[in-house]
Symmetry: C2
Subunit: 341 residues, 2 copies
Amino acid sequence: MKIDQLGEFGLIERIRQALPQGPVADVMMGIGDDVAVLRSGGERVWLVTCDVQVEGVHFLRDAITPQDLGRKALAINLSDIASSGGRPRFALISLGLPKDLEVEFVDGLYQGLRAEAEPFGVSIVGGNISSSRLGIFIDITLLGDAPPKNILLRAGAQVGDQILVTGSLGDAAAGVALLLDPGLTTSAEYGAFARLRRDTPTPRVREGELIGAAHSANAMIDISDGLAGDLGHICESSSVGVRLFAQSLPVSKANRALSQAVYDGDEWHFALHGGENYELLFTVPAAQAEALAEQVTSATGTPVTIIGEIVPLAQGQRLALENGSSIPIQPRGWDHFKENK
Amino acid sequence: MKIDQLGEFGLIERIRQALPQGPVADVMMGIGDDVAVLRSGGERVWLVTCDVQVEGVHFLRDAITPQDLGRKALAINLSDIASSGGRPRFALISLGLPKDLEVEFVDGLYQGLRAEAEPFGVSIVGGNISSSRLGIFIDITLLGDAPPKNILLRAGAQVGDQILVTGSLGDAAAGVALLLDPGLTTSAEYGAFARLRRDTPTPRVREGELIGAAHSANAMIDISDGLAGDLGHICESSSVGVRLFAQSLPVSKANRALSQAVYDGDEWHFALHGGENYELLFTVPAAQAEALAEQVTSATGTPVTIIGEIVPLAQGQRLALENGSSIPIQPRGWDHFKENK
């Protein structure tokens, strides 16, 4: 069997099952979340994550500046640490580079890495450089830390929790669509915004650390695979269902219009299934949800929206529409090895 | 300028200089050694390293089994933790895989990873899978820990120290030469040994931890770039010179004969410049060198040989030959971006 028949998540599950099961000394969370959580012997625990940008898969060399590529490669890892409620600390940068690449490309890449690292107090402490006949790849391992009680994972969402999301949905996906189909039209203003969200995602680092430190949320994830896909990860890990309210989703009219144009009239497709969104998605008991949303917004300026609620597993995952009906949410997040439609 | 004009070490130095200088909280060692050393708040410190295997650069898919590839990809990282005197603990595996790869390849890769991890108590706690149009790459981040006083780095070698090496030299390089030139001849026995050393290097994990815990060595590195290159790293970081004794080098006759055949009569080329050796190279005050060598050999069975001594910087880096003359050692270790001859 080829791996594209099994798919990314099938392959990860196959790997997970082939590894030793059961608790391991000092491992609070291993494979199965955005971060591994490791006891350090000190008061804080370590969080470790890695993510890669591969030329021809995640980026096209001619469509992104080296600075933006460096920023994005680090941002997606920052987002994973943020989604656990931790504080990012140290990065290792592993580069695969073609021999005939201009040195200035590497300079620009590191300018971008620094520009993304320094506002969050992250230090680049190591890495590796290899030649690559395969084009460019940038694999980053990011270490963070947190007091253990601040850590939020995919598991832990409770029936009755409200579902909250930072920022807006679907804009990076609209930016990708505008890149792939030059015939698509939107306002100059929204086009520029969507491209910005595509090329320089904003990891919600301060927001994530605040949410962890508030000790009221029950589960958190960042939206890298699309809202439906990542909400599906929370549902699966927490054994719960979900009811989203379409009219509450923070999606612009411009985004919905582009989604309709690309997906045969489906105005929610970018919002539900667009990848690389890098907003934080978290669940909070209803009594505390509004207070936490206001606390995060007042401290960071980032909007936080209540978009739905956690329901019993048997009720499945559904999107309630304005007309009173509801439709099932099918996770169709990005899969590296399948056709993504 | 293209990066192959600057070379791997020039590029690393350029990156290092572009990063913020000066001490960083909790970073005991950043870029510039085999591992980063990070304070954890606990009694032990963390060691972090990453290294990658790229198809077409480090391996040919048809010339190595997936099991051996998995073992090797982890072994080279284990060797880096070992070279700092630490204990390897946790691995993150980042894979780039072509969509049409057989699932069984990934199964085999993980069998190899487990086979290498488990004897050393290493747990695979996370990772990442990406599709790659670029062929296969396997980037591993390995975390280890150690009591701070056990840690050995490239800096610290003292004039008068003896230079010790585990195992034997040049055999992996001979294995590569046998792969690249089927016309080369050697005994069946040595050929099999050299291929084994090429495909399944033995990281000196227990040896490294013992050397760190003995508190007599002053500096340590693993031989990944070749003896001359890695000894050069110690000399540069420690501001010292070195005198090696050719007749003391642990190099087999069969290896020297192959080296002569490939390198126009230079019997020491594989031993001095062969990469992927993954032995530990360390320096110890003369009064304690023999005792440490015996301690490591009696505990692990691994031979340890005294091959030279640290001399003042002004005396340079030289190889003393049996006839009483000496020749300069030119670091010619592997450079990813230059022609390697």
